[in-house]
């Protein structure tokens, strides 16, 4: 079945076939990159990896409403698909995984998945959960103060919403009606702690009303629904109407990280059931139904991406390690850093 642009979900959102293919390519890249990274981990070449599997749609969907080179990104460690959408290359991701000197996030100093990229305006993140939330508010304040046309995106898991920093950051953003979008990737677990032990409510989005701005719930496995919610929030932000909290209901398919064994706390059939809504498949189906891909083109794209990833991995593996003494650098500003 083929449909006129205006009557499809994506058409209504103003997304072209090219947009969809680019989004799909990102989603597939994220999935294959995760798989490749996990293999590296099992082979003993990558001591620590953080799979995004299951979160691809909400990350790529929300990312797609952001403007590269203009907007500012504050992701968290789960956001492997997001940073690809923000412009990081698989090669850069592998530089981080192998802790190489040229890793744009930290030069191998931080664990992999602690994203940062100055040129792409991906702000360096740390391990302590939710600390980036007030940063997002502060950046948005500076944008508003200088009358700049930029929007801040800030991503976190539902676990992060329990931290005091989260509360304080959202409250400040609400008071000053800042151009910032808070995206909660609710996968119902903070490592092993189920949502019911984290909060007495069903929807994190309900908390937004305590800060004076809208909270919306979307199907985090539906890339277009996530895009749509983010697009509206982005328009609100640019129009000076203030923040939005978007809650994407999703699920993490693998362990919390490569160090985690989720069999100790999640029933297998729960994971199986969730896999029936695998966002990569759901998106692929959508594209098939709308005749945007078929089995052959999908397979072709997959093969292309796989080759790209293999090449990125191999090249990154050969890249230089940081020098031991370089550990002493950058505690404070060094004059060669630029402003």
């Amino acid at each position: 079945m083929s449909a006129g642009v205006a009557t499809t979900a994506h058409g209504a959102l103003g997304l072209s076939t090219e947009d969809l293919l680019a989004m799909y390519r990102t989603v597939v890249t994220a999935r294959l990159l995760d798989e490749a990274a996990l293999r590296q981990n099992r082979m003993g070449r990558a001591p620590f990896v953080v799979p995004a599997e299951g979160h691809e749609a909400c990350q790529v969907g929300t990312a797609w409403a952001m403007r590269r080179g203009i907007d500012v990104w504050l992701p968290y460690y789960r956001d492997g698909a997001l940073v690809l959408a923000a412009g990081m290359t698989p090669y850069e991701v592998f530089l981080g995984i192998f802790a190489k000197a040229d890793d744009p996030s930290s030069g191998g100093r931080q664990m992999p998945a602690h994203w940062g990229h100055k040129e792409l305006q991906i702000i360096s993140g740390s391990s302590p959960i939710a600390t980036q939330v007030p940063h997002a508010a502060g950046i948005a304040y500076a944008i508003k103060y200088r009358h700049e046309d930029a929007v801040v995106g800030c991503w976190f898991g539902e676990g992060a919403t329990s931290e005091g920093d989260w509360h304080e950051g959202l409250n400040f953003a609400g008071i000053h009606r800042l151009p910032v979008i808070f995206v909660c990737e609710n996968n119902r677990y903070a490592i092993s702690v189920p949502q019911s032990m984290q909060m007495a409510i069903e929807d994190v989005a309900d908390r937004a009303q305590g800060y004076g701005f809208p909270g919306v719930v979307v199907d985090g496995n539906d890339v277009l629904a996530c895009y749509s919610a983010m697009k509206q929030a982005h328009e609100r932000a640019r129009a000076g109407e203030g923040p939005t909290l978007i809650e994407c209901k999703t699920y993490r398919f693998l362990g919390h990280t490569s160090d985690d064994d989720d069999k100790t706390y999640r029933p297998r059939d729960e994971v199986e059931r969730a896999r029936h809504h695998d966002p990569v498949h759901v998106f692929g189906e959508y594209l098939r139904v709308h005749d945007i891909v078929d089995d052959a083109t999908a397979e072709e794209l997959r093969a292309e991406v796989k080759a790209e990833i293999d090449h990125a991995l191999a090249t990154a593996w050969e890249a230089a390690d940081p020098l031991p003494e370089s550990a002493l650098r950058h505690v404070f500003y060094e004059s060669d850093e630029g402003p």
């Binding site: 930290s106 191998g108 302590p128 903070a190 505690v331």
Partner: protein, 341 residues
């Protein structure tokens, strides 16, 4: 050599590692006293990220083994409330690096409750935090935090280096009427084995321990670095016959200056070795109190070895390795030089 130096020991010793010793001691305490409550992130459903409480949610019930929200100030603050109402909470901080959001609850509340109420209220509670580096934890899973907390009046801070000390100090911490920060060096968890007496023996808070006797110089350390020192001392003895006495601080606050001073008086040479960032680290207090008190007993300047003043341990292997001074080789060389001074 063992907790027996200053602990009350009963039962037959059993060989085990640090993480097991902690698990067993805490398990016994929970089994013996239903006022003891464990709370923290992932302690119930998953049994802790280090599996210390695996199975306990079923054994003791979910009211006693509580998976908390991801909120450290809340964990400590709730534990303070429990302590005020007759329970004996053990608050687990998943990694010591994540204790910082609870700084105010620990410093302003737990540690000051007794003083500010003129003795009317107290907070008998234990905060457990796995700390230290060398386990590829990178900047935020490798930190040493003892210097921040040892400075806080009203708080006791201990860091065991052996299984026996871990068990004995944990029991003492649980019996103490005041808050105790119990630091567990992650690199000792599985790497360090030793005998643990079988009964509910205690190692008193505030007591240092001579882990290796010696006559030529005193080396003061704690945590994982203690083992680096013992290893260097034993190599140095084998290589050159230099006899180093290694003192395990064990209790950062209160500090057992008697045991340290006795050793330093007998050897007249002293070095202090710690993993934390060197400047303003715990070794500064130890070196300083010795300098004030024993200056004229010393035949050589005090040597202080700490980690570099960079924000914790980077991830990349070459960088982590660079930080993990005090490495045995460095300690060995400085020991030899100090003995020869």
């Amino acid at each position: 050599m063992s907790a027996s130096t200053s602990g009350v020991v009963d039962g037959e010793p059993r060989e085990t590692n640090v993480v097991t010793a902690i698990r067993d001691a805490l398990h016994d305490e929970m089994a013996a006293d239903d006022r003891v409550i464990l709370l923290g992130e992932d302690v119930a459903n998953r049994g802790g990220v280090f599996r210390i409480s695996a199975g306990w949610m079923d054994e003791f019930g979910p009211e006693r083994v509580i998976d908390t929200p991801l909120a450290e100030a809340g964990i400590v603050g709730v534990a303070i409330g429990m302590a005020l109402r007759g329970l004996l909470p053990v608050a687990e901080i998943q990694f010591a690096d994540f204790i910082h959001p609870a700084f105010d609850q620990i410093v302003s509340e737990a540690a000051r409750m007794r003083y500010r109420s003129n003795g009317a209220f107290g907070c008998p509670m234990v905060i457990r935090a796995p700390c230290g580096g060398g386990i590829h934890g990178a900047l935020y899973h490798s930190q040493s935090i003892e210097a921040f907390y040892a400075h806080v009046p009203g708080l006791k801070v201990v860091m065991p280096s052996t299984p026996a000390d871990a068990a004995g100090l944990l029991r003492s911490a649980l019996r103490d009427p005041d808050p105790v920060l119990f630091l567990e060096h992650k690199k000792t968890y599985r790497a360090v084995k030793g005998p643990v007496p079988d009964g509910p023996f205690l190692v008193p808070l505030g007591s240092a321990d001579v882990k290796r006797a010696g006559t030529d110089l005193t080396c003061i350390s704690y945590g994982y670095a203690l083992h680096t020192c013992v290893e260097a001392a034993s190599r140095l003895f084998d290589d050159e016959g230099v006899s180093v006495e290694v003192v395990d601080v064990r209790s950062l606050a209160p500090l057992d200056t008697d045991t340290m001073f006795t050793s330093v008086r007998s050897t007249s040479r002293v070095m202090v070795v710690y993993e934390d960032n060197r400047t303003y680290g715990a070794g500064a207090e130890i070196a300083s109190t010795i300098a004030e008190t024993l200056m004229f007993d010393l035949d050589a300047p005090i040597v202080r070895i700490g980690g570099p003043d960079i924000p914790a341990m980077p991830f990349a292997a070459p960088l982590e390795h660079f930080f993990m001074e005090p490495e045995p080789d460095q300690v060995y060389r400085r020991m030899r030089d100090l003995a020869a001074f």
